[in-house]
Symmetry: C2
Subunit: 129 residues, 2 copies
């Protein structure tokens, strides 16, 4: 699969794919004899994984570390598990923060709706913005 096809499949730019490979977010992709990238199913698995993790805010640095450990082989199983667990904990913290903010936003929006509905366009003085 060419880089263009991979881009279209995942809605990502070729520059980003090359960047991911260059810095090690995904392992090196095989090439044709002319030097052009030829993505295998396994490569696509790595690409998919990178996109999924990045979309959740897992850092590029952490993904690089994971690939590095993966390349070192079976002796890094525990280290890889621990890295994933760390990523999991980080995104859980993120989830908690976002949920809290979501609740606050829901409250604020309901207060605005009420104010707009009743025509009373003011807050209690003890209430923040």
């Amino acid at each position: 699969m060419t880089i263009k096809e991979v881009c279209e499949k995942y809605g990502i730019t070729a520059d980003t794919l090359r960047y991911y490979e260059r810095v090690g977010v995904i392992p090196a992709v095989g090439r044709t004899k002319g030097g052009i990238r030829n993505y295998t199913e396994e490569d696509l698995g790595w690409v998919e994984n990178a996109i999924c993790m990045r979309s959740a805010g897992v850092s590029v640095e952490m993904l690089i570390e994971y690939v590095r450990l993966f390349r070192e082989g079976d002796s890094t199983f525990q280290a890889r598990r621990d890295l994933l667990a760390q990523a999991r904990a980080e995104i859980q913290a993120e989830l908690d923060k976002i949920n809290e903010t979501a609740k606050l936003l829901d409250y604020k929006i309901s207060r605005y709706d009420e104010a707009i509905r009743t025509g009373v366009l003011s807050w209690d003085k003890d209430e923040n913005v």
Copy 2:
């Protein structure tokens, strides 16, 4: 309240507080006659709000727009409500993505745990990394 006290209260740097004020994430803070910031309870409400929204990934740009609308007065009630609703939708999308990734991570971690426990350090060939 001085900037230092606000920093300590919220675990944020003075530079960030001044930055937020300079770009308009929070409205201008009152000063002593010598020109030193003196945060009121209302200012703290804005600071708290900014920190909460930023921690959930709401953009600085959106917070600036909210403060701008707020300063324009009651005629912007609907616009402010809509902006909050937009922020709410954005963080919901973020929540959905993170939850999806969390599930994948949980699965991967359980697979690693199983592999480590049984001593069988290999995946099925159809399974990605």
